[in-house]
Subunit: 110 residues, 2 copies
Amino acid sequence: MARYLVQPPVEDIRLADVMRALSEDVRLRLVSVLADGEFHSCKPEEFEVGVHKSTLSHHFKVLREAGVTTTHLDGRNHSIRLRREDLNARFPGLLDAVLHELASRQAVTG
Amino acid sequence: MARYLVQPPVEDIRLADVMRALSEDVRLRLVSVLADGEFHSCKPEEFEVGVHKSTLSHHFKVLREAGVTTTHLDGRNHSIRLRREDLNARFPGLLDAVLHELASRQAVTG
DNA sequence: GCTGAAGTTCGACTTTCGCCGTACTATGGG
DNA sequence: CCCATAGTACGGCGAAAGTCGAACTTCAGC
């Protein structure tokens, strides 16, 4: 039985919430991993940010509640993905600008 | 004797700092007023956010230190302005996306 | 049903943040 | 020189945020 965790509908996504969600280094690195637009498992191994798994879970919640990501639940496995279309519809150009910076950052640091 | 308050050079503007600066309602309203790109006096009357003038000063400092605004000092008068060119150069499309949302918000609320 | 794996939830701690009020600084004008 | 004006700096307070560790929940597999 697959289902999705609660998240704000597109029209309720607030700019301040999105900006705040994307104002933290750990979460920016998570988004960096999610930049390909695909679903990713929520395993700490996938996201090599040096925080405890409960902290990671907290950050995923912040991203989801801000409307930045969507979380799909299937069995014991949670999958997370960026809400690209929704964010582009709500704040055109915003996510692209952020992803562009994250990409160019990775090009530098390896 | 006119001069400028200290601010980060373009290349040192950090995404997380800009996002955080723009993640707060009061500061978003300040940016909304500054959206025309012109210099504005720092008087509380110019920015009708219901906070104490010392709080307002604090928010201006946050914006300036994040690299969002530049502050010009002439005599007793401080003037503040968006760093449009710098932000566009550093994070193309980011500021425009934010300003677009702020503008469409004003169109709704009057 | 037991066990292990994947993640969440909760409590506690520490740091940061927004806010105010007061004191302070600097400048322009009489 | 004195005073009013325009703002900053500082101290304190309560709320929010990031972190961890431990306990809990849910499900797959045996």
